[in-house]
């Protein structure tokens, strides 16, 4: 009876999770879906507490309370701009939890386990620990605890491949000698090492792709736990999680016009500018450095304005100031649209969350396909800390590293205002021809400060 309730609670939880993800197809019902997901989790936890192996609840209670406090605190106080870090950390927790469950399971049931369970446990600790250290590395790189530059050494790819193969060999050996604990713990140790060494050589700015990929490893670790414990809700959640991470990292690398392999083994994103391959640099282009007043003149005259936010908006936390500026312009009768590129910022959907935080309605926000034809018709474009996603070299210069990546046609606009701090390049380290166009005004300075001045100018 208890067992039946347990399993039914898991079935209910599975359905809730599926419905929660389905609801994310539109912001209208996404919140309700998330609530449903939380309810599913609650049902599964309550069902589990009836498990007949559980004989005391004190450690459980302490863990639940402690976890809730930490989790609650983290999600209430973390600023929206720190989402990538937040997500990296939680993958670390997820990987650790999966790995520890695997160790605990093996330590007390070791000898009696069948081959299938043994293999599942092996995979679980390997993937779990890999996700754990890998995510911590990614977190460190994002936070700047570890240098964001790729740390490379000779033969690193060979080392990584060797470690993966060793893990495979250990797994096979373990399947045949399930009582050899050394094999099991060897896999765990290898997982810890691979997590560190595989992430080290990847540039800090590529971390979002790494994080998504770790997401799918975490999912696989969960699914492996499910196979080991014959727990189907774990398999379902793990598979959903795994596909989500995988699809998002594919989307990112596609939108960045780079292959997966290039990201994982390419040591790209060094931050060292290599502007030699840009036509603008070759031509020694002069930039049209403008004052705030010049920009206010353009904004005042514009009936239609497209705002293109980029990573710089996140850095300077300019979203609220931007909202004030566009409100002031709207009060004067201008029509404002926001153009958000799929890889603007450093995380899928990064800009959307920040704009939403600043109360900008999402029906004013447009995707690449939706708005790219509008640039040639609009009066003015305001580029707020975006660089690569508006670089025309991606369309025109076959020699450029980002050639072929779809970008906004900002270069076709009548008047362009660009806000950034310097003439330094963006994520890809490339010069941007857009900044040298005759109809582009560069207003240098921190985006938030500049926008505040612009607002003051527009208001009065």
């Amino acid at each position: 009876m208890r067992d039946a309730i347990l399993h039914i609670s898991y079935l209910i939880a599975s359905v809730c999770f599926i419905l929660a993800l389905q609801a994310l197809s539109s912001p209208k019902h996404a919140r309700r879906g998330n609530l449903l997901g939380a309810i599913g989790m609650l049902v599964a936890v309550v069902g589990t507490l009836l498990h007949h192996d559980i004989i005391s609840y004190e450690w459980i209670a302490i863990g639940l309370i402690l976890g809730s406090l930490i989790g609650g605190a983290m999600s209430i106080w973390i600023p929206m701009t720190k989402m990538p870090e937040r997500i990296a950390l939680s993958h670390a927790f997820g990987g650790l939890a999966a790995a520890l469950v695997g160790v605990s399971e093996y330590s007390h049931r070791g000898a009696e386990l069948g081959t299938v369970t043994i293999v599942a446990l092996g995979l679980e600790v390997f993937l779990g620990f890999l996700t754990f250290t890998g995510s911590l590395m990614a977190f460190g790189k994002l936070q700047g605890f570890i240098t964001g530059a790729p740390i490379t050494y000779k033969g690193q790819n060979a080392t990584n491949i060797t470690m993966f193969l060793s893990a495979l060999v250990l797994l096979i050996a373990f399947a045949f000698h399930p009582t050899a604990a050394i094999l099991f713990y060897g896999m765990g140790t290898l997982g810890l090492a691979v997590g560190v060494l595989a992430v080290l050589p990847i540039g800090g700015a590529d971390m979002p792709v790494v994080i998504s990929l770790l997401n799918s490893y975490a999912g696989l670790a969960s699914a492996a736990t499910g196979f080991a414990l014959h727990n189907y809700v774990l398999i379902i959640a793990g598979a959903l999680d795994g596909t989500s991470g995988f699809l998002l990292s594919m989307k990112m690398s596609k939108a960045m016009n780079r292959s997966f392999a290039n990201i994982l083994f390419g040591a790209f994103g060094t931050g060292d500018a290599s502007p030699t391959d840009s036509a603008a640099a070759a031509a020694g282009a002069r930039y049209n450095l403008a004052t705030v007043d010049d920009a206010v003149g353009v904004l005042d005259a514009a009936q239609t304005l497209i705002v293109v936010p980029g990573y710089g908006m996140a850095v300077s936390q300019a979203q609220h100031a931007l909202r004030d500026l566009t409100s002031a312009l709207e009060a004067k009768g201008a029509k404002i649209q926001y153009a958000v590129h799929p890889v603007a910022g450093r995380m899928p959907g990064h800009m959307n969350v920040l704009l939403a935080e600043a109360n900008i309605p999402y029906d004013q926000i447009f995707d690449l396909d939706e708005i790219n034809d509008e640039f040639s018709r609009t009066d003015a474009v305001l580029v707020v800390g975006a660089n690569d996603v508006v670089n025309p070299a991606a369309k025109t210069n076959p020699g450029s590293a980002i050639y072929g990546m779809p970008v906004f046609n900002v270069d076709q606009a009548r008047a362009i205002i660009v806000l950034k701090r310097s003439m330094n390049p963006g994520f890809s380290g490339l010069e941007n021809d857009l900044f040298g166009l005759p109809n582009t005004m560069m207003v240098l300075g921190d985006a938030k400060a500049t926008i505040k001045e612009l607002t003051a100018g527009v208001r009065g």
Binding site: F17, A30, A38, F93, G226, L240, L248
Partner: protein
Amino acid sequence: MSSELHELLFGLYIFVLAGFLGHHVISKVPPLLHTPLMAGTNAIAGISLVGSLVSAGAHYSKLSTILGFVAVTCATINAVGGFLITDRMLRMFKTKRGGTKS
């Protein structure tokens, strides 16, 4: 067929179906909501909690209990934190003007 093999096969059915389903469901999420999606799948991954609860409460051995306790804590952080932060984000997405800054 051994009961273990049966369980494996059954798990594979579930895994394959959920994988296909995940593919369809995730591809329908618009870029607008990709960050909440990442946070939301994180929250759902907190379900590994149910695996750790048994370890923490079963007194199989001292080691099991301690490992279970740490795992319960970690998984709870993800589950509770994940749903809360996803909700916090989703609350911000609005169509109509007005409302206060969150």
